[in-house]
Amino acid sequence: MAVGLPENVFLTQLDAAANWARSNSLWPMPFATACCGIELMATAASRHDIARFGAEVMRFSPRQCDLLIVAGRVAMKMLPVLQRIWLQMPEPKWCISMGACACTGGVFDTYAVVQGCDRFIPVDLYVPGCPPRPEQLLAALIEMQSKIKQTGTLMGGEFDRRTTSTGPAPFDLDELRRSREMQPLVNLEIYTPPSLEDAVKAGPRRD
């Protein structure tokens, strides 16, 4: 005999209840280092209003946050800070890499800029754009919510299974070519214009 539920009572799974709560109250940690940070602010401001998705509580302490938004290029000197912030955030936590620079280093392929923060911290979602429009960030947030709802568990078992880094390896083959570039030049003081022969010999550059 079926037992009817009293009014205002519904049945669900604990995981689903936790996911529902978590996904609709994401507290972002804005790691805004460049122009993406301005778009992030615009997303939080009245026109786009991130509060519609329950993520308006920007906390500037990582201990109160569960969504890291890396907005902007990450300088080499800043990366230990970013890693520390990520480690300080309590579980469960997620990470959005916002913009071309945070995802790949963007146009800043120099010695000082990390070529994508996913090389060194785990990233859940990438937002392309330079900088992305606030709508894109909102779309990413909605995507993040649906990801949490689909894969989240109460005890966070899905995080424990991610034992390997999903980003590219920190050391890439390009390093070889770079070390060749480091060979000391002969006749340092003498100006030698680049010749077509050398350019042909060297072949096309891969980057």
Binding site: R119, F120, I121, P122, F159, T163, S165, D174, L188, Y191
Partner: protein, 163 residues
């Protein structure tokens, strides 16, 4: 424009003066740099050091020295500016610090040291100022590759399971 004939006659060797538009420039050999700066501060009233920077002349057409170090001085009473330039070379580019004359030389010289590896002797605290302390290269030298030599890769990789 300020008259520097007296200064040039005192430090007779190889001080060249030139102008370009409204830039007044003085090229000084490295060993007389400090006395010249001292004289410019004490007798010509250049009481402010606006800028210290360096140029790498590697592969520069007609260049005979590797680094040029540029001091921009300002006389705040007359508004006069003067650019003093000197040259240093590898393997040990070295100059006397201007810190005893102008305290603003402190960070400016640290920046030049950071980017070019030019050592300023007598500087009270010659450390890297912009780059991390572990950095070993001098990235604004022309023979340093733009993408670095692997400094960007020397960080631990944090996976999701261990964080």
């Amino acid at each position: 424009m300020i008259d520097l004939t007296q200064l040039k006659s005192r430090f007779s060797d190889n001080i060249t003066e030139s102008t370009f538009r409204d830039n007044h420039r003085l090229v000084v050999p490295a060993h007389t740099l400090y006395p010249v700066l001292d004289c410019l501060k004490g007798e010509y009233g250049f009481d402010t050091l606006m800028e210290v920077t360096a140029v790498d002349y590697l592969e520069y057409e007609g260049a005979t020295d590797r680094f040029g170090v540029v001091y921009v001085l300002l006389n705040t009473t007359s508004g006069e500016r003067l650019i003093v330039k000197t040259f240093v070379n590898l393997p040990a580019p070295q100059l006397p610090s201007a810190y005893p004359l102008w305290k603003s030389a402190d960070w400016l010289e640290r920046e030049v040291y950071d980017m070019f590896g030019i050592v300023f002797t007598g500087h009270p605290d010659l450390r890297r100022i912009l780059l991390p302390a572990e950095f070993t290269a001098f990235p604004l030298r022309k023979d340093y590759p733009l993408k670095g030599i692997g400094e960007r890769h020397n960080f631990p990789v944090i996976t999701r399971a261990e964080s």
